[in-house]
């Protein structure tokens, strides 16, 4: 019985291949975008975990010499005294086009957790091979691939636990590679040191102890970025579900008489419901599988940009190559099932409640009464109110996204009512009969098109919101770079002695030499950095202050106050007048807050004297130079002083690099933006194609009354354009509200900085043109079909009426 009934149900799709395509494509697209985002996030998280698990050197306290590497003798002295320390050599080398970060560990003394399994001998590697030339290096598989054939490297062993771009090796091998000549960069200090050891000051007074860093930093810092991606994935999924909901709703409506017949012929209601559920799940499985394949391709294409973004924004190393993980695929299939069931829930509920003996006439597809429209509008208003309430009552990124979601979905629900009102207005004011028919008929088409228009509105509002946010950010960022990069040339000395020589060489040749000296210190219980600056007009004139006191600069340079970046101000709730605890016995009053875009950590700026008083051992290597002829001075620094090219960077190059990082940061957002808009365009196309199959009985009387098929087709395309234009107009304020949410709420929560909002009307004009173009493209095929409909088809409508 069930087989025959299922065959009957499925036969519908064989006769309606377009509808089947729409359903599968909509669900596949929705699953693809969602799965792609999940794959990207998963890959990034795996990279963070790998970094934290294998090279979590920052997880241990370490000893280092402020002036650079220390001799092996220092290590030996500490070990002899009972200090449980392990030496580390670090550095970068260039092989071909691959920059490789080399970390050399001493396998016998290194904390076990730092060594990958293969390093510890689990991969069947002879430990002697690691010790004798050329040695063994462990690197990520893609890094090993990139380094194939590169000269002067140890034997490379692929190890997925090592983050990309890095090589882990024995300290002896690293010493040769990095040409360290018996010097050690730092000593890792294990927790729980023996009690009887002498104090550090007695054995190696020159060494400074750096406390262990929080290993969850990278995941915490990048959480907001991944949440942004997830939100985009969810939005795309929601837009895709609009298509699926439309396709399933239509299929259920068209089969309503079939359901009744099946019931009348003896199929129990429960069996019918079970079969429909099985059908939905079967279709979801097919679409989900397609979506996973597509999502894998999309994620693979986007991942290099995401990796670049994370590197640029957070310094996080993420694999640029996507792995396949069965758990991810299963999650994709599950989300496809959940989405399909959510989209079909209404239809299934209707079938469940469908009386067996009600009229078997199919009702007009998705016909919604004025009451239903009102109900939907009320639900929309409720969603907006809920979003606003969530943002008022709760804090955090989740509240920000609740506001975004509430506004977006609420506005989408309100749209059909709004469009109906405008079309009703048009009908009331139309004078000519054709115009009256046009408005009334457009209003009649609204139920069938409303889902597509809602999807379009979501995509447009998101596009406007995100574009406004990015463009506002770009404008602010560019202006901020101009203010912040006050020096003409930035130089880094090779060591402390070179720093002293450089400063001496520059005096008289440069207008000003501004130290950029900093120490890394926890600020407000999170990683932070403290800079010391000297009194100079460029700071007073250009530094991008957001909040200040009347004597900000005087107080800072007189060592009476500290300036902090916006992130620290927001996170710690500090404003001018409050007190910041900088270190042991070092507390200062906040005298200003400055913008500091792109920096994930809290930052404080004090007068240089104050910094040197508390940290006399601060590395004095970096300097900003103000010069009247920067190119000439740069040449002299290279040619006369002999500063390597890598240690010198001019302002223009720094700006270009910063902007490049910025642009790459939003490449992924832009790509997802375009994909979401494409899905919405597809939603319109499918809705129009679907409606076109039902239009004949509505158009035949108008054709019979004297309108040519060509004119009817023109009116059809005009109707599509009119609805798209009205939807754009409705999306504009929603998009701007979205931009405001992103700039004033989400960005502050995610990154700790608030951005001013700028309006870009030319962008709107371009998007409006694109919307009309997309609508015209979507309407072209159904319209062409209508223009070519044979008169006999129209006549058949009247024949069927007899």
């Amino acid at each position: 019985m069930r087989r025959a009934a299922l065959a009957a149900l499925l036969s519908h799709w064989r006769r309606q291949p377009l509808q089947l395509f729409t359903l599968l494509a909509g669900l596949a697209l929705a699953t693809a975008l969602w799965s792609a985002v999940q794959a990207i996030n998963g890959e990034a998280r795996r990279s963070y975990d790998a970094a934290a698990a294998t090279l979590g050197i920052g997880g241990y306290a370490s000893l280092a010499h402020p002036d650079g590497p220390m001799p092996v003798a220092t290590y030996v002295a500490l070990r002899r005294d009972g200090w449980d320390v392990s030496p580390v050599i670090e550095g970068r080398i260039l092989r071909g086009e691959t920059r490789l970060r080399v970390t050399g560990l001493e396998p016998l003394t290194a904390p076990t957790g730092l060594l990958p399994a293969s390093f510890a001998g689990d991969a069947g590697i002879d430990p002697l091979d690691m010790l004798r030339p050329p040695g063994v290096g462990f690197a990520a598989p893609e890094t090993v691939d990139a380094l194939q054939g590169a000269p002067g490297l140890p034997r490379l062993v692929a190890d997925t636990a090592v983050p990309p771009g890095q090589m882990l090796t024995d300290i002896g091998t690293a010493e040769i590679l990095l040409q360290k000549g018996g010097m050690i960069d730092r000593l890792l200090v294990r927790p729980g040191q023996p009690d009887h050891r002498r104090a550090l000051e007695e054995i190696a007074p020159a060494l400074a102890l750096t406390p262990a860093q929080d290993q969850g930093d990278m995941a915490r810092l990048t959480d907001s970025f991944h949440l942004n991606l997830t939100a985009f994935g969810l939005l795309s999924f929601a837009v895709g579900l609009f298509i699926v909901h439309g396709a399933i709703g239509l299929a259920f409506e068209q089969r309503r008489p079939m359901f009744r017949t099946l019931r009348a012929l003896g199929l129990p209601a429960r069996s019918l419901l079970a079969l429909l559920l099985a059908e939905v799940m079967l279709l979801a499985f097919v679409a989900g599988s397609l979506g996973i394949a597509l999502g894998y391709l999309i994620a693979g294409a986007l991942l290099p940009d995401v990796a670049a973004t994370l590197r640029g924004l957070y310094g996080a190393e993420v694999r640029g190559v996507l792995g396949f993980h069965p758990g991810w695929a299963l999650a994709g299939l599950a989300i496809a099932q959940v989405g399909a069931l959510a989209a079909a829930a209404h239809g299934l509920h209707q079938v469940h409640r469908m009386p067996l003996l009600a009229s078997a006439q199919p009702r007009a597809w998705a016909t919604v009464s004025a009451r239903a429209l009102r109900r939907q509008a009320v639900a929309g208003l409720a969603m907006i109110a809920a979003g606003i309430s969530a943002s008022l009552l709760a804090d955090g990124l989740a509240a920000g996204f609740a506001l975004l979601g509430g506004v977006l979905l609420g506005a989408a629900l309100l749209l059909p009512r709004l469009l109906a009102a405008v079309l009703g207005l048009g009908a009331r004011h139309a004078r000519r009969p054709l115009a009256q028919w046009f408005w009334a008929d457009t209003r009649q088409q609204l139920p069938g098109l409303s889902l597509a228009m809602m999807a379009l509105m979501l995509a447009l509002a998101t596009n406007i919101g995100v574009s406004t946010m990015v463009a506002s950010f770009r404008l602010t960022f560019t202006g901020w770079l101009d203010q912040r990069l006050v020096s003409d040339i930035y130089v880094t000395a090779r060591n402390e002695a070179d720093g002293r020589a450089l400063r001496s060489w520059l005096s008289g040749r440069a207008d000003a030499v501004l130290p950029i000296w900093k120490v890394d210190l926890p600020l407000a219980e999170a990683p932070g950095e403290v800079y010391g600056i000297v009194d100079h007009a460029v700071y007073r004139q250009h530094w991008p202050l957001l909040r200040s006191t009347p004597d900000t600069w005087d107080a800072a340079f007189a060592n009476r106050g500290v300036l902090i970046n916006e992130q620290l101000s927001y996170r710690a709730g500090l404003s001018p007048g409050d007190t910041l605890h900088i270190g042991e016995g070092w507390t200062m009053s906040v005298v200003g807050v400055y913008s500091d875009y792109g920096n994930p950590v809290g930052q404080a700026v004090v007068g240089l004297d104050s910094l040197l008083a508390h940290h006399p051992d601060v590395p004095r290597l970096r300097h900003g130079i103000v010069a009247s002829d920067p190119p000439a001075l740069a040449r002299a620094l290279r040619d006369d002083y002999g500063l390597p090219e890598a240690n010198l960077i001019d302002q223009a190059r720094l700006k270009a690099t910063s902007l490049q990082v910025f642009e790459r940061t939003f490449t992924v957002t832009g790509a997802l933006n375009v994909l979401t808009l494409s899905v919405a365009g597809f939603a319109i196309l499918t809705a129009l194609l679907t409606l076109s199959t039902m239009r004949l009985p509505q158009l035949a009387p108008v054709w019979a009354l004297g309108l040519t098929r060509r004119r009817l087709a023109r009116l059809e395309i005009l109707r599509t354009l009119a609805l798209a234009a009205l939807t754009f107009l409705a999306a504009l304020p929603v998009g701007l509200a979205l931009a405001w949410c992103l700039l004033a709420v989400v960005n502050v929560e995610a990154f700790g900085w608030r951005l001013p909002m700028f309006l870009f009307p030319l962008q709107w004009v371009a998007l409006f043109a694109l919307t009309l173009l997309a609508a015209a493209a979507a309407g072209a095929l159904p319209t062409r079909r209508l223009a070519r409909t044979a008169p006999a088809q129209f006549l058949k409508v009247f024949a069927d009426e007899r």
């Binding site: 009934a5 008489p257 079939m258 017949t261 429960r270 069996s271 003996l357």
Partner: protein, 218 residues
């Protein structure tokens, strides 16, 4: 006796209360008997047919189908009765638009698990559908569609055939032809036929006639 219906009452809720449609109707249908149910619009003909077809339940009264009470059965039980023991022909044909003629014809037999390919082929031949088996309902005329619906109802060889104005949508000549086929096949299968019709001319061709007026047997 195939069907024994006793004192059936049925009313439907309206805005003003309840509208009685059947007021204590009783009828019998024997195997091989052909019964015409006539009456003016609103007399309760279709409602009575729906009750006998287990599509709906009476407010009170009893319906024995082959000695089994169906009036109080639940949804699943009534669905099984419809599937296994009743052939239904609707005025609107109610074919499945996505199945071709052959599949529509065999559909209920398959549903009931009693598909007999040879019998279906005979039915198709007798109903003049043999050349139309790969056509879809939309490609058939009204008369052809009704013949498919009759074939579908008879394919599982049900003991009872219930027809709700099966010729209501057809012209006189086609209606006569369709009724000829129904009677011929019913006679052949030994099924009992109850047919709702407006037409006294067609009713006269059946062995017995029951006239309903305002919900009661006149």
């Amino acid at each position: 006796m195939l069907i024994e219906a006793r004192n059936l009452t049925k009313s439907f809720p309206t805005g003003d209360g309840s509208l009685p449609v059947l007021n204590g109707v009783s009828l019998d249908l024997a195997a091989g008997e052909t019964l015409a149910l006539t009456g003016e619009s609103g007399s309760g003909k279709s409602t009575l047919l729906h009750l006998l077809a287990a599509l709906d339940q009476p407010d009170s009264g009893s319906i024995l189908l082959g000695g089994e009470e169906i009036a109080t059965m639940g949804d699943t039980g009534r669905a099984a009765i419809r599937r296994d023991r009743i052939g239904l022909v609707f005025q609107q044909f109610n074919l499945i638009p996505s199945l071709d003629t052959g599949a529509n014809l065999a559909f209920q037999a398959r549903l009931a698990g009693r598909h007999d390919a040879a019998w279906c082929a005979t039915l198709a031949d007798r109903l003049g559908l043999a050349d139309l088996l790969d056509r879809y309902p939309e490609q058939l005329s009204g008369g052809q569609q009704q013949r498919v619906a009759i074939g579908r109802a008879l394919a599982p060889r049900p003991p009872v055939l219930l027809a709700d104005e099966p010729t209501g949508n057809l012209d006189e000549a086609t209606a006569d032809g369709v009724l000829d086929m129904i009677l011929e096949l019913v006679t052949e299968t030994g099924a009992g036929l109850l047919m709702v019709t407006h037409s006294t001319r067609l009713a006269a061709r059946l062995s017995r006639r029951l006239h309903l007026s305002q919900g009661s047997v006149a």
